[in-house]
């Protein structure tokens, strides 16, 4: 499974086959969603090892509970709900225990990255994906800033701006009303902007 395989199967078909105990359908399901799940978890928890572990937890939970999945919501939202809930709980647990990433100071202390972030915040045209993708220190600084939001605010920003979900999907995943999603996202973006500006100084 080293190379990326695109799985374009219908979720209902895969779920039906998984319920029958079809191990290939389980594999297809994991391959279909693993990158997206891993991606949002990593952006929320920052640690690649923990993100891989949480991604595994998510799929284990999905497969163990696949019989309980009811088609009231889409399968897509159901699995993201599991992933986000597991990650939020993990983040809260870590925050309570006072765990901090070892590279915190390194990230903050990088003057080039801070300078690049300052430019990004001022110049609309410089924040294109290519500019950011080519600067690893800058990426670390942005992800670090994102990590300074509380778990709930981080979740709405990640689901909207990284996973590209709409408000209704976010409300379904987070178990919130549409109004709460709107206000939480609004506060989260304002707060994130303040964090980014402060970090860039």
């Amino acid at each position: 499974m080293g190379q990326a395989v695109r799985i374009n199967l219908d979720d209902n078909l895969l779920v039906g086959r998984c319920r029958k105990g079809d191990s290939r359908a389980m594999e297809s399901l994991i391959i279909k969603y693993q990158d997206r799940i891993y991606n949002i978890i990593l952006k929320m928890c920052r640690n690649p090892d923990d993100a891989a572990e949480l991604t595994q937890d998510t799929f284990v939970k999905i497969i163990q509970n696949i019989d309980k999945f009811q088609s009231r919501s889409s399968f897509y939202t159901w699995i993201f709900r599991i992933a986000v809930n597991l990650t939020i709980n993990y983040c809260k647990r870590n925050a309570k225990m006072g765990f901090k990433s070892l590279d915190t100071e390194d990230v903050q202390e990088n003057p080039n990255a801070r300078k690049a972030l300052k430019v990004l915040l001022k110049d609309e045209h410089s924040s294109n994906p290519a500019v950011i993708a080519s600067n690893k220190e800058l990426i670390d600084l942005i992800v670090w800033s994102l990590g300074r939001l509380d778990e709930n605010q981080r979740a709405v920003v990640v689901l909207r701006d990284i996973e590209g979900m709409n408000y209704a999907q976010m409300a379904d995943i987070l178990g919130l009303s549409l109004g709460t999603v709107k206000s939480r996202l609004s506060r989260a973006r304002n707060h994130l902007r303040e964090i980014l500006e402060e970090t860039s100084k």
Partner: protein, 340 residues
Amino acid sequence: MSKDLNIDELLNGYIDGELSTRQTVELKRLINHDPEITKKLQRLQRTKKIISALPKVTAPAHIFKDVKLRLGEKIPVSEPLPAFSQRPEEKKALPVFYKRVLAAAAVIALLAGVIGIVSTMIAPQDTAQMPVVLDDVPPPEQPMSESIQPVDPVVLARRTDAPDTFNGKIILTTDSLLPLDAFLNRTIVELGLLPITEIYSEKNRSVFDIHCRYDQAKTLLAQLGTVWHKCESKTLYLYKEQFPDYVTVENVSPQQILQIADLNTLDEQIKVAGQFNTLNNVESSLTDRSLMAALNQQRFSFSIPRSFLTSVQVPPDEQQSEKQNQPKNIYLTIVIRDRK
């Protein structure tokens, strides 16, 4: 404060494309008249753009393996395959010496055997007028040119030995098990064949047990024909009335399967399957360089007819009307096996 919050929410909704047309018009008017709101909007847009521009990462390759390990025995075992699918599946590959003997004998066999076989067929074109040279022969895997339309699933009666029944299994071995499995699943869903298909998966193979009409099999095989070249070996097992008995057609093409399935009696199906098998073996032997060299050396000049039939002793019109009146029962098992 509340007003600010409301404007912030509206601005967020605006950049996320979540506002109604009316809200968008009103907000645009506000933006045009209030520089503070314009500034706020730009700040929000930049923040969003920075986060959206973070590169996507790929999950580590071991996720599936680890999930499987963690679930251990809790991963349910696939449903047992029906006895039908558990019979001997693979005929041994032709031994090398046989190929050489075949190559040496092919010169005679082609003149005697092949022409004999051809005499029982009606070629798609008049080969005497328009000889087909090997190099010009289109690949047998070429997809059939017809538009693919979803067909209505029809649950037919259970397998019988009725003359209008085709009962066969195709074994495809491939290096691309997962993509082919996904392709066939998708095709079955798209063609509306899911209700009449049983799907089983095991570690190294996927099995699709389909009970359908001839036209449905035709549509499915047309689609499958587009990925036929991804299979290392393609063998048809045509079952005789007594289940353990079967005839095989090696290196079979979708067109050949359809032509066999189209025949009305089992005897005809078995006879033509045998002929196809011989032809396919001769064809594959002809690709042998030594044989081609031998042929060139002896300056033989003849053309090889394509190894497919258009009909068997039934006028096309009659056959067509018969087909429309009597939908054939097709029992087709497709097995995709991992070559490794």
